[in-house]
Symmetry: C2
Subunit: 297 residues, 2 copies
Amino acid sequence: MSIFGGIEAGGSKFVCAIASGPQDIRDRIVFPTTTPEETIGRAINFLQHGEEKFGRLSAIGIASFGPLDPNPASGTFGYITSTPKSGWSHYNFVGAIRSAFNIPISFDTDVNGAALGEQQWGAATGLDTFLYMTIGTGIGGGAMVNGELLHGMLHPEMGHIRIPHDFEADPYPGNCPFHGDCLEGMASGPALEKRWRIFPKNIPPDHPAWDLEAHYLASGLVTLICTLSPQRVLLGGGVMEQTQLFPLIRNKVREFLNGYVQVSQILENIDSYILPPALGNQAGVLGSIALAYHVAQ
Amino acid sequence: MSIFGGIEAGGSKFVCAIASGPQDIRDRIVFPTTTPEETIGRAINFLQHGEEKFGRLSAIGIASFGPLDPNPASGTFGYITSTPKSGWSHYNFVGAIRSAFNIPISFDTDVNGAALGEQQWGAATGLDTFLYMTIGTGIGGGAMVNGELLHGMLHPEMGHIRIPHDFEADPYPGNCPFHGDCLEGMASGPALEKRWRIFPKNIPPDHPAWDLEAHYLASGLVTLICTLSPQRVLLGGGVMEQTQLFPLIRNKVREFLNGYVQVSQILENIDSYILPPALGNQAGVLGSIALAYHVAQ
């Protein structure tokens, strides 16, 4: 049986694992994201010890914060590109890992990794065109189209789509430093916290915050559904641990679409159309394992 | 040399052609869209005469108004689905053509057809992920992702994405019967006409209408760019014959993205990123020929 190394590289923490799949996670480590040298050093260390304990890895998958260059044909493949994150801008992530491991390395966005993991082992098995969104510190989206991950020119930045904003009903200006009231600016965890002045985990389930949150998320989802025509929509991330959001979002998606997209998935079965990821809070690191699995084939 | 039959099925008119490609259109006909029986009868008649004059067709491509079912694995493949257009709802378009021709038939949206034609012969050669939008009586989008047309659950309905709308600056409520002020509701030809009470072709190029039109179109494009990450964006349709819109749209797309998507295509070369289709007003019917070409391979 092949075993793989996975690195889920987040802006605040790294999760690394040695696994063949979700039922067989041999080892796992979590540590904070500091300088590239220190952080990548710890990741390499963990993976090298993994090889000593469990045998040679078949491939390594990296599911990373971005923006990044996931195009193997590009001269800057494997780099984090223009992040404001100190030290990481134009950092050659894949190059650093490759200096320690002479095996296939796959490199993609955290959300594309999570999408691939959900297709392989989770809530998107058998689908070829679907959407994975994470709503947490930021908002991001990964997508598979016709069985392949969507990259295009670079990779999607679905958190930054524009949505309607009624300033009279909600004067909060949004907290995206680039766009103000884009989807992320209005509906990320920090936006929730700043608007209501309560830490999101402490906002009671019946607080009006959740209805407004569902309103913005549904607004964005309607646009993404009209654009990608996904066969399913998976919503993960810290904010979506507030599971009362799911029925609110489903109702509003249906209300906003207003019968225009006449498919049973939306008109009759929306409860199985908009779902949490099946891999739960392992979706990220298993996404990196899924990336490794695919590059090894 | 293979020759193909093409049907561009629009809500108000049909354009049919016999061609091997854009340099070799052997015959072409335009007639109004009336009842399915009469309209499809004329299309079949034209194609049959084409076979008599030019020899056996290798395949037929249909690039149609929708919504429609383009999935060959579906029980209703080849049907127009839930259109309000009298007589056409749940009409078996491919079945009617197949009753007269025992050759491969390809069936897709008008905008997917146009996207395929532009990749084959036009402004998207060599690209694998790009967007084709038409802005006219309605607004629609077709997309290719990783070299294949995007269908997903059904097909995209990009005209119906939600966009910001400042009612104070522009009290026009939008004219989409389903969504009011979605992109199509705010920026289609009829929306322009109703807001300004001038037929769009008669609005002078320096009229403020065009700045507002560019504002809404750029708003929608920024969302589509953040979602699909297209390598190029082609804008066709009657409204885009107002070519003064192109520089306005390019500037606003760059302004709205505000440096967030750091790629040279947008930061440095946006003039060759957002373009008219190269096949011009033949993009539609050549799209249907391109669909035939691909199904014959």
